[in-house]
């Protein structure tokens, strides 16, 4: 089994138009997903641009980023267990994030 990192990209304005009923449904779906057997862990990130530090020729400098606006942010990440990329993608396809228009980036964790 290999470990995969799921990066959930988000547009913060995307969910603001959901109705209360839809918000509740969304909470329930997101929570239900974390109860799945392949789920290992995850964290939610604050809804801002974050900071990027670049070497800047020996004088490291922090700037807002990697996205310049808060139109798109990294909403959070999960780790899951899967045999290979195919399976990891299959499992990720069941995530409600996609139903609500979000994007999921799937990366395999290096293992020796």
């Amino acid at each position: 089994m290999a470990e995969f990192l799921l990066l959930l990209h988000d547009e913060p304005t995307r969910l603001t138009r959901l109705s209360p009923e839809e918000m509740q449904k969304a909470i329930e779906k997101y929570m239900a997903w974390t109860k799945k057997p392949f789920y290992k862990g995850g964290k939610r990130l604050t809804q801002d641009t974050g900071r990027v530090i670049k070497a800047n020729g020996g004088k490291p400098r922090a700037t807002d980023g990697p996205y310049s606006e808060t139109k798109e942010v990294m909403g959070g990440f999960y780790t899951i267990e899967a045999a290979d990329y195919d399976e990891a993608v299959q499992l990720s396809l069941t995530h409600p994030h996609l139903e609500y228009g979000g994007t999921i980036e799937v990366r395999q964790v290096w293992a020796m």
Partner: protein, 429 residues
């Protein structure tokens, strides 16, 4: 067979319910002019829950969490709003005081119910056009979104949004308040509320091509609002009649369609699928509706629904009583639709020929001439009389009228029957 609804970790419809009562409460604290601010605040609180709960877990008391966060957001919003000026401090103080209230305190519960009630009466103020009252009630008290309301009424989002903006402006500009109606205006105000509630229910109950789920939600919300009014000091016998009517009709919701989404007429429904809990609720309020006072149209309609509900076995319906009740209803609320329904009862009691005669005068009404139910009823009675050719014509005309997809399928089925039997005249009995 019914499968139990999938239940999440949260109480069903918790957010929608809480949205309504928190908006009502914040509007009470800040004043109806700030209804929009209250709505935005509650929406933001729900969004925070959506962002936080999936990773942090659901708080022990989700309703209290939403209540508190919405208050805090409202306090921030009031502080930021420079147009409030000298009113700011008083509003912040009011919101702060309220935010520490404990939701499990019965006195607080009572107050929140009272806020919701005042809000319904504001939304249904006789000065507000009915369609606007309906949309505003669903939005502010019901916790429905613009899109959900639009879906329920087959309108577009922009039109509903526009209507809500206009209505809120009207409330601001005419200075409508959340004060309880004075005794002199009580009757008219209560009637306006009941009319809106009944309208919401009928929109949900009438089969149209709208989304099935949202229609059931409308019925549920109308019943909830009616019970809210019935449980208050403003209740009068006719409010109980409305609760009875809604509950008894809603009890049949499940039995009205088959698995394929086809309509099943009352006569052919599997009565074991009628919701017994709603039926008992209906009869309970039906009894309360008899506590004196004038007889309203709702009394007559509830009595008709109760007579149907009493017939536990198909074919045991007491049609003579129903016909008498339709006569009463017609006197209380003369309308061509009531007359059409009465004609069906006439046919049941005195035969299809008498039913046809009762329908005839309605056909001069220009508005009804293209009403599919009138044509379909006529077709149905002709079918019973064995006049297949004419029945076919009427079902065909009915199909040309505006009606929903399930209704259309139903009419096609009837048309097929008429055509089939018409082809084999020897089979006529």
């Amino acid at each position: 067979m019914t499968t139990p609804a999938e239940t999440g970790p949260l109480l069903d419809h918790l957010f929608r319910r809480q949205a309504g009562r928190i908006v009502a409460h914040l509007t009470k604290l800040m004043g109806p002019a700030y209804l929009e601010l209250a709505e935005e605040t509650v929406q933001e609180a729900m969004l925070r829950a959506l962002q936080g709960w999936p990773s942090q877990g659901i708080p022990e008391n989700p309703a209290a969490w939403l209540f508190r966060v919405a208050h805090n957001l409202a306090i921030d919003a009031v502080r930021r709003n420079r147009t409030l000026r000298e009113k700011t401090d008083a509003m912040v103080a009011e919101l702060t005081r309220s935010s520490s209230a404990l939701l499990d305190d019965p006195a607080v519960e009572e107050r929140l119910r009272d806020d919701e009630l005042r809000m319904i009466f504001l939304c249904c103020h006789p000065e507000i056009p009915r369609d606007s009252s309906v949309a505003l009630s669903l939005k502010t008290v019901g916790g429905f979104s613009v899109r959900e309301i639009a879906r329920a009424f087959l309108a577009d989002d922009a039109a509903i949004a526009q209507r809500l903006v206009r209505t809120k402006r009207q409330i601001r500009e005419t200075g409508l308040t959340l004060d309880a109606p004075s005794p002199s205006e009580m009757e008219a105000r209560l009637d306006a509320v009941l009319e809106v509630i009944y309208f919401i229910f009928n929109e949900g109950y009438t089969a149209h091509e709208g989304d099935e789920l949202i229609r059931l939600d409308l019925c549920r919300e109308a019943l909830r609002l009616a019970r809210l009014v019935a449980g208050s000091s403003l209740a009068q016998p006719r409010v109980h009649a409305v609760v009875a009517l809604l509950a008894l009709q809603a009890a049949r919701n499940e039995a009205r369609v088959d698995a394929a989404g086809n309509l099943i007429l009352l006569d052919e429904q599997d009565r074991s699928r009628w919701d017994q809990k709603l039926i008992s609720l209906g009869f309970h309020h039906f009894d309360l509706s008899m506590a004196g006072g004038p007889v309203s149209r709702y009394h007559a309609e509830a009595a008709i629904a109760a007579t149907h509900a009493r017939a536990a076995v198909t074919g045991s319906t007491d049609w003579p009583t129903i016909l008498e009740l339709y006569d009463q209803l017609l006197a209380l609320n003369p309308s061509p639709i009531v007359e059409l329904n009465r004609a069906v009862a006439v046919a049941k009691v005195h035969g299809p020929q008498a039913g046809l005669q009762a329908i005839e005068p309605l056909e001069v009404d220009a508005k009804l001439r293209h009403y599919y139910l009138l044509l379909a009823t006529r077709g149905h009675l002709l079918l019973e009389l064995g006049r297949y050719k004419q029945a076919t014509d009427y079902f065909r005309s009915a199909l040309e009228c505006r009606c929903s997809e399930p209704e259309r399928r139903f009419l096609r089925r009837k048309l097929d029957d008429a055509a089939k039997w018409g082809r084999f005249p020897t089979c006529q009995l």
